[in-house]
Symmetry: C2
Subunit: 675 residues, 2 copies
């Protein structure tokens, strides 16, 4: 018998969907030794469209792929609400912007999951040698509990099995593709040119088929979907509402006289149910129709119902709801019928060594367009934390904030989905006396409120050792105790210094100009996802001697041997390996040059000269207007210091003078690097 | 002896630089049977940086690659003028926006030629099977003059020789690469990941080395550079100023205390000469220094001078000019010294069958940053014309407008370059009595004036059969007679109908909203380069019965069997194969739907349903402001019709009522397709 291959890896990711790929992208960007395996033989190519939240686009942009999504996606601009009039005939009752104006530099768009996966794969390949290992599935998982607190150890042992091509072929590409009878099938026009290489690589599976290998890992991330193998190995459960809905989804190129077919629409008919219209790329339109409500999952009769659903059934429902307008199609891209409960994992991790993310820990209806977003944001939250622990920058204690932060969001998501589904599916009230019916005023109010949540911008992480704000560190988030171990490090922000920034939320973005070349940038563009913490000094008017004095004192303090910069940056590392110092002032741009700023903000390198990308100014640009970031964020003349996490969430706000607080904050969870 | 391979091709392009690649991109976008050959074995990878004009970016965007250039390029925002003060010490005397605000939705940027070539190669591969055939050089050219007016004939015969790898290796990659002594060399950090495939393909050269083939072509485009083989075969000459300058160019990562090193700077020292600073990508800065002026090209002593120039000589000149600021470097990317006359070809074509483009017909100094732009714009002008003749849509007579339009531009360019070079190189005047010196006021005035020219936006093509405006068709352009053969077709625009549009110039761009989905688009984004003519109907307020009546009448006329749409669209072709009808109205968006417009503006397809991308509105958007295109273009309440060429230049402006003029205009140069 041949020897079984055995190897070590810092991070093993199970699952190559959006959550797993986001994790792998962080690993690539942070140069972490990682592997990612997926049981399917190829990436997915179509179907499974999803809305991309504003916040997701901001995140993709921070990873260098936002522009690709923005360019290829269909931009949904307006939501039209259609309701029965007094004669029971549907009419447009309202128009609402699909994204609340001003909350982000991006607006919600729609693009199918296969493209998002392609962008991740390209970003991973550009930054690292990590490749998704396809047709590979874990077959056993052991955790050595005695080693879980040992930073150098590999406490996790996983056996990986290389599948045969047949085992690795998902149903989606194995079914026939011939127009009207396509079922969970491939629409050939959606096969992008840059995906063809992937298909060719399928043949490589054969070489290793049926072999096994053993991997020892420091960390394991189970992003392996609703039927998560990892979750079941850990014995963890999903809990939640057992009321399931059956949904029909139809992706067609519609032929219709309905005037708003290229708008996102919520159509409530008087007595034929409701439909959600989602216009997509390439003239496609997705129709979501809730077909039944059953009381129990696993109920045999409800499963049977589902099997009777086909495109014709869904189309006929749509035709009834949308009458007197006509709708039909000649091109069917994809359709499905499914049933999903609204459930959240009881725990998101075991020993802070094995983590679950995405559908593995929360399931809900697809209609709110949140699924892929929340899943990717799970690992966007987790990736930099694991990377900084693996690199020895941070203590393991920060890892418990993954559960406190993300389980809390999943709970909010489920509540949102529950409410939204009920409102969407209900029969419109006939009049104010119709208590059983859904009032359209109530629907619209909920819709508007849900809007902010659905943008992803509303996420507000609770107090913890990496979010320095008031409040109980036990009660925030999902209830996990994330208190600061060292009371010394228990720093509290002064949010009065910039009313437009909320500690725990992502930093809002406005345009600022580079002092050295006058080019405008969105603030968030200065915060790419590369694992660095940012300390942004809003220095005010630096031609004012008081502000200038404060900035010089701050630079002197930050530069001292006992301050965070020196303590927590590894010896020999580049000056901004762990912390990037940025200054944004609001003196007139032409009144100063970079040489008027302390050298700490324009670090010198013997070969590359000065760094010209750390000093920015709030001033008018020639071609892109005036960002007015001081006004927008409510920053006072006395300035302030803002600490931004590697994922763009705000950790701390304090006065320029209190430089000690910054060092104390980082002292709570970072490791001293130099003696 | 083996049989020599012999084949036919519609268009043969010689030269795979920017001009040749632009031509090939048109061929790809218009599905023309074309080949492109280049004697070099690989594309270029670095050096040869160039500014990209606003207009060039608009053009690249129309080809689907503008965003790649915009993203990778360094954005130059401000020009700083530095001059000697009363003590002879340089000081910043002025700041000017590098691009005139408002003239384009893009601003001038800098990116090296190797990247532009990559974007073209990708666009060509995406749209066609055309590939640059490298290591291939023409060795003979014959034109059968008896066939030049025969549309079906292949009057051009070219012998192509496949070179050996050694012959195909340009000097740039053959010299050693070791830091300070690099000369016209490769900077390895500039080798982009997506170029590596190209290098691997070099080996394919060997298979065909030393073989010959014969190609019969309908059209030949010589985009083969300043030493054009095609030009010399045709016996054509360049004419112009024989005063040559020697330029030193140094691409370095500077280490300097000069505060404006990331700005574009023109620095005139009191007595040590002048320098132009061009900040580039990756911290690189290009320094242009004019080192000597000689009176005659080919003068042996001046050639000798040039050989003595090395990076140290150029650096020392820069150090003298920039004193008291210090400048040095540790990283040298590339350098060169060259000597270029300012000359224009006497003729741009022979029999309107063989055309010359780019450096093959105009040479000038590189400093104005115009070279690559004007070269690409030559073939951007030529490509769609040849494509429409090859397809049988247009008569051959439109081909003579290539010379009238582009030779005129080349002449303007040379005049601009001459003036600019003199002003730039001269010694600053000591005072107003110093007649020999250059007044800095004069320099700034010329600079500002040159600005509009340098943007590429000022191009204004003369009257011809494809530009319907007042003026002598003999005197406009370069003097070529481009009169309309058929007096019936001699249509004249009424430019008073929209004062913001100039017939002969590219159509300005402002945002409009799609009526069907409310998404904002820049007008130019609706005009991708695919060979189509656009008829844009500015219909005014279509809720007004008079305007609505006019629109309906117009639609009826355009739809008649005797109108251009029916006459000049091939039978069986898609409804917008030759002409795309767009309407932009200014009634409130929510007051109408697409079904309120004549069907000609929302063509129906049995499989794809209605076309939702032809009806637009001038209204406010939720997230991107209000384009206000009616005000910006000065369009009156009565509306107008604008004909836009496939290259976005305006052919005609007239009233909505005069639909006959539109048909008459197209009758001048298009071929009747149906009997």
């Amino acid at each position: 018998m041949a020897t079984v291959l055995e190897s070590n890896v810092d991070v093993l990711i199970v699952g190559g969907g959006p959550a797993g790929l986001m994790m792998a992208t962080w690993m690539a960007k942070c140069s972490i030794n990682a592997r990612i395996v997926d049981k399917r033989g190829t990436k997915i190519f179509n179907g499974q469209a999803d809305g991309l939240q504003c916040r997701t686009l901001e995140i993709l942009d921070s990873l260098g792929i936002g522009h690709r999504a923005w360019r290829e996606a269909n931009h949904m601009v307006e939501i039209c609400l259609w309701n029965p009039d007094e004669n029971g005939v549907i009419r447009r009752s309202d128009r609402i912007p699909d994204t609340i104006p001003g909350i982000s530099r991006f607006q919600q768009v729609v693009l199918h999951q296969g493209r998002i996966e392609r962008f991740f794969l390209d970003a991973i390949a550009e930054a690292s040698d990590i490749r998704v290992e396809r047709g590979v599935m874990p077959s056993s998982l052991k955790i050595d509990e005695s080693l879980v607190e040992d930073d150098a150890a590999y406490p996790i042992t996983v056996t990986l099995r290389h599948l045969t091509e047949k085992e690795a072929t998902p149903r989606q590409s194995s079914t026939s593709v011939n127009g009207e009878v396509v079922q969970d099938g491939l629409f050939r026009s959606n096969l992008a040119k840059d995906d063809t290489q992937d298909l060719l690589e399928l043949s490589k599976l054969r070489d290793k088929a049926n072999s096994e290998e053993i991997v020892h890992a420091k960390y394991l991330v189970g992003a392996d979907g609703a039927h998560s193998w990892t979750r079941s190995q850990l014995g963890l459960k999903l809990e939640g509402d057992s009321t399931d809905y059956i949904w029909g989804v139809l992706d067609i190129v519609p032929i219709t006289d309905f005037p708003d077919i290229r708008m996102r629409c919520a159509i409530h008919s008087a007595s034929n149910g409701s439909i959600m219209v989602i216009p997509r790329e390439n003239k496609l339109v997705r129709l979501y129709i809730q077909l039944t409500t059953t009381e129990k999952t696993g109920d045999t009769s409800s499963r049977a119902d589902r099997s009777k659903i086909n495109p014709q059934v869904i189309l006929e429902s749509a035709q009834k709801i949308m009458a007197p307008y006509k709708i039909t199609y000649r091109k069917l891209d994809w359709w499905t019928a499914y049933q999903i409960g609204q459930r959240v994992g009881t725990s998101f991790s075991v020993h802070d060594r094995v983590f679950l993310a995405g559908d593995a820990v929360h399931t809900h209806s697809p209609k709110a367009g949140q699924g892929m977003n929340v899943s990717m944001q799970d690992t966007f939250n987790l990736g930099w934390k694991i990377a900084s622990v693996v690199k020895g920058h941070a203590k393991r204690s920060i890892l418990k904030t993954y559960q406190s932060e993300r389980r809390g969001i999943a709970q909010e998501l489920i509540a949102f989905d529950h409410k939204f589904s009920r409102l969407f599916s209900g029969r419109p009230a006939k009049d104010v006396m119709d208590a059983e019916g859904i009032s359209m005023e109530e629907f619209k109010a909920a819709f508007l409120k849900g809007h902010m949540f659905a943008s992803g911008i509303a996420v507000n992480y609770g107090a913890s050792e990496i979010v320095a704000k008031e409040g109980s560190r036990e009660e925030h988030g999902d209830g996990t105790d994330v208190s600061v171990a060292n009371v010394q490090s228990n720093v509290i922000s002064d949010e009065s210094l910039c009313r437009g920034i909320t500690v725990g939320m992502r930093i809002p973005s406005h345009k600022v100009l580079n002092q050295a070349d006058a080019r405008p940038w969105h603030l968030q563009e200065l915060l790419p996802s590369n694992g660095r913490w940012r300390i942004i000094v809003f220095a005010g008017n630096v031609t004012n001697s008081e502000q200038r004095g404060k900035l010089e004192k701050l630079a002197q303090d930050f530069g001292s041997q006992s301050a965070f910069l020196s303590l927590y940056t590894p010896e020999g590392a580049k000056y901004d390996e762990v912390f990037e110092l940025l200054v944004i002032h609001n003196a007139p741009r032409t009144s100063v040059s970079i040489f008027d700023f302390p050298e700490i903000f324009r670090p010198f390198d013997e070969i590359d000269g000065w760094d010209y990308n750390k000093i920015f100014v709030d001033d008018v640009s020639y071609h892109e207007g005036f960002g007015n970031i001081y006004d927008a964020l409510g920053i006072s003349h006395s300035g302030c210091v803002v600490i931004v996490r590697p994922d763009q969430y705000v950790s701390y706000v304090g006065p320029m003078e209190n430089t000690a607080a910054v060092s104390r904050f980082f002292g709570g969870f970072l490791r001293v690097q130099q003696q």
